[in-house]
Amino acid sequence: MNGLMLFSTVSEVSILIPAVIILIKRKYLTAELRILTVYVLLTLLRNTVGVTSDILFYSGLKNFHTLFFYNWQSVLGFYVIAFLYFRLLQFRYWGLFIIIAAGVFTFFSILEIPSGSLTKLNTRSFNQYTYTASSLIILIIVLAYLYQLLQDLKVESITKFPYFWVSVGLLFYFGGSLFVNLFLAKSALSTTQITWGINSGLSFIFHFTVSLAFWYSSFLNNTPNDE
């Protein structure tokens, strides 16, 4: 196992950090943080499959592809995040935008079906259109939410506000993913390794910010909005 693969495995395992914090702070979880919990559980499930596959591969027992799970996680994860921001964004036109965007996203997902990325368990196809579309849409939604926070100014302490950290994490994760998909799509071997490295780094950052969001869940009781 080389250093990059080890880093990738560690970043996948790091989803356990928010999972543990969810268990600790379960009493304080608002409806929106419960929605985020669904996202964490989806990622946990995907990463469990990924890490198990890595272990089986390196112990020489079995080699199976896990891209099918990654593809499905990206599709379902998008709907979960979209639903989360559908609830957080108060301006009704943004709600409409999310519904339309979800429709567009579904269309892109359907386009992936012929490649088998969502239908074949041992697929080697990466649903690139879906990733790019979800990254773009989520970036727009997150920026809209940050703008809403600036307009409302209702949050007493922004750095202890869970949805701020969720938004920061999503901004890094999907901003980075968009960069990867746009610039590293047609990659040489060395670039593929960079892609893996960036993805792992972004996942790690995202898991960390989501952990912060759950950690600060108890502070939501002191803020008058978004609940």
Binding site: L153, I158, G175, G176, F179, S190, I194
Partner: protein, 263 residues
């Protein structure tokens, strides 16, 4: 695009995101601080307006009571006195009745004079008609005649007929009344000095008495006796005025009031 270029591009993007997040937090906190300041200013303004309207209501009510006293009670007492005079003429044969009648007449005269006095004190008509200097002068003269307390009123540089803003005139007049009342009632002062001057676009009113003085901190804490001070504070806040009091036991009291003049 080479690997190095991609790494550079990716790192730059990451850096931009980090800077964006930091700037967001900084800007958010700045806007929040501005909002808090605006809210505080609005609250202070609202408090000031409330005080202003409450003082206005107080003055209107004083005016109404004064008018009722003068026009109705005063008039009724005058009529009663006239009627009683007629009655007195008819009973002047019986010595004892005559004496009692004279006494009742004196009571009536005293009542009429008291009603007139209260009515005048409730509404400082001299203040409205002739201004602050003449009104204070008239007020201290009356107190001097009634109590014998010596007054020194210095208003160097301000003409007798000079007029200030109505609110400022009423504020100073009412505060002067309050301070004179305190000096006579609580401090048992024998000499009171009032100084009115205009310096650097500010109206300065200095009130000094040679009374017993008081413990300022103790009075501030006491809800009942601190009422006068709070009243002064409230009145001054309406005209953006400030005041300082220096007092110590047996050494008299010195009160300085400053009100900005916006001409």
């Amino acid at each position: 695009m080479s690997d190095l270029q991609l790494i550079f591009l990716g790192s730059s993007g990451l850096l931009v995101l980090i800077i964006f997040c930091i700037l967001f937090v900084v800007y958010y906190k700045k806007k929040q601080a501005e909002q808090k300041m605006n809210i505080q200013e609005l609250k202070a303004e609202m408090h000031k307006r409330l005080l202003e309207s409450s003082l206005e209501v107080q003055e209107v009510e004083r005016r109404r009571i004064a008018k009722d006293l003068h026009d109705e009670v005063g008039a009724m007492l005058s009529v009663t006195k006239m009627s009683f005079n007629q009655l007195l003429k008819k009973i002047n044969t019986a010595g004892e009745l005559n004496e009692q009648g004279q006494q009742t007449k004196e009571f009536l005269e005293e009542s009429i004079s008291q009603v007139r006095r209260i009515s005048r004190e409730l509404v400082p008509s001299t203040l409205e008609d002739f201004g602050l200097i003449i009104a204070i002068d008239e007020f201290i003269q009356k107190i001097h005649i009634a109590t014998g307390v010596l007054f020194i009123f210095n208003h160097e540089g301000i003409e007798d007929t000079h007029r200030f803003d109505n609110k400022i005139e009423l504020t100073i007049y009412r505060i002067a009344q309050e301070l004179v009342n305190n000096a006579l009632k609580h401090a048992e002062a024998e000499e009171i000095s009032l100084k009115l001057s205009v310096q650097q676009n500010k109206l300065i009113f200095v009130f000094t008495d040679n009374g017993k003085g008081f413990n300022l901190e103790a009075v501030k804490k006491d809800v009942k006796s601190g009422l006068g001070l709070r009243n002064i504070e409230s009145r001054l806040s309406v005209v953006n005025g400030t005041f300082t009091i220096q007092s110590s036991q047996e050494k008299g009291t010195n009160t300085t009031i400053e009100i900005p003049l916006f001409s």
